[in-house]
Point group: C2
């Protein structure tokens, strides 16, 4: 498989973790979101994803897949073990709720294109951009922390790694990058400390990607 | 079942459509997002959803579910027919991609709390708020229109109503509310014209809800 992504993209990071957990070999194709005015906006990349967002996964059959959560659910069906979404409907709902808290209600509001609109089109200063990130992270992490009260074990949902953990890790990486105070979130910190021990999560980390710091 | 929601909330609208398609009876419990500083922020509602967002579905077993896409996937497992997400992994990925284009990459960026932050905290004028909405709608609808080129039949994916349609309809309602020019999106318009014929979609429309225009 080929993964078109960017080292610091949360959505690419999620798919890397899932591919590693499933032990699926893949080739990284870097799409630099800042160089050349954003390589995701080129015609070549738009042909892979009309939304001009990363990642895109090309399967062994040559199928182009977009949207990280759709890709991960596909991989979960293709390689059922370890399961990232439980088979029982209620367990699946719990996992997907936590995943969407991060992947729908936090990440899209704080991703690069939105920050570029704030500082570019709306001419907001850097401090206002950082305050924006901190505001939405605190909303999302506050709710997530509360949910973990009833769901967490060693990981977000019990003692098994799920899609919830796959979505949490990149948002914590991002929060730390923008110096968010993690003190109010002891349960999130405890789960992330566990995730940071796992090879699949370690190998997916932004700094270890071939396009890191380019 | 009980659905805590708001007539104009896109996420509530999605769940109403899904409940109607599945022919599941439910009771509406209005949560007014503007009155009393936002009823979703009360302790009573936060106990149902720590993210202080609508909707929340209470199942017949008394289970509280949040996150519209997680709820709809749960309903799809509970009442398998009509299926809103195809059983084959590739078909499911196509449907989920379109759904996430609307529910992750458009709706969270343009929802009430973000607009309130723009006009409140960032003191942006009304025109800037409307330009924000138009910008993100055109990004998302442009990509969606392109995807429909290969996926659409009578509906978003072939001739069967799916989760993609369930997520598209509320965003078109919103776009029209903010006078977005729909001319560049003939495929979206054709699909929505079909959806507007279906009782499940008609009965879920904001204006027909008990809390409409309150």
């Amino acid at each position: 498989m080929k993964l078109f992504g960017y080292w610091r993209s949360s959505a690419s990071y999620r798919v890397r973790i899932a591919l590693n957990l499933k032990e699926i070999q893949y080739e990284t194709v870097p799409v630099h979101l800042l160089k050349d005015g954003g390589q995701q906006k080129t015609d070549a990349y738009a042909a892979l994803n009309p939304a001009q967002l990363v990642p895109t996964l090309i399967t062994d059959d040559g199928v182009q897949l977009n949207q990280s959560l759709a890709i991960i659910e596909y991989l979960d069906a293709l390689v059922p073990s370890p399961a990232l979404v439980p088979k029982d409907p209620l367990g699946a709902a719990v996992v997907r709720t936590l995943a969407l808290d991060m992947a729908a209600d936090l990440q899209p509001i704080t991703n690069l294109r939105v920050l570029q609109y704030l500082t570019g089109t709306l001419k907001q200063p850097e401090a206002s951009k950082v305050a924006w990130i901190h505001h939405w992270v605190s909303q999302a992490f506050g709710a997530f922390e509360k949910r973990l009260e009833t769901t967490a074990g060693r990981y977000c949902v019990g003692d098994t790694v799920t899609l919830a953990d796959v979505c949490l890790m990149p948002q914590v990486y991002n929060a730390e990058r923008f110096a968010v105070d993690m003190t109010p979130y002891p349960r999130i910190r405890a789960v992330v400390a566990q995730l940071r021990e796992l090879p699949a999560f370690i190998q997916a980390s932004p700094e270890l990607q071939p396009d890191a710091n380019t």
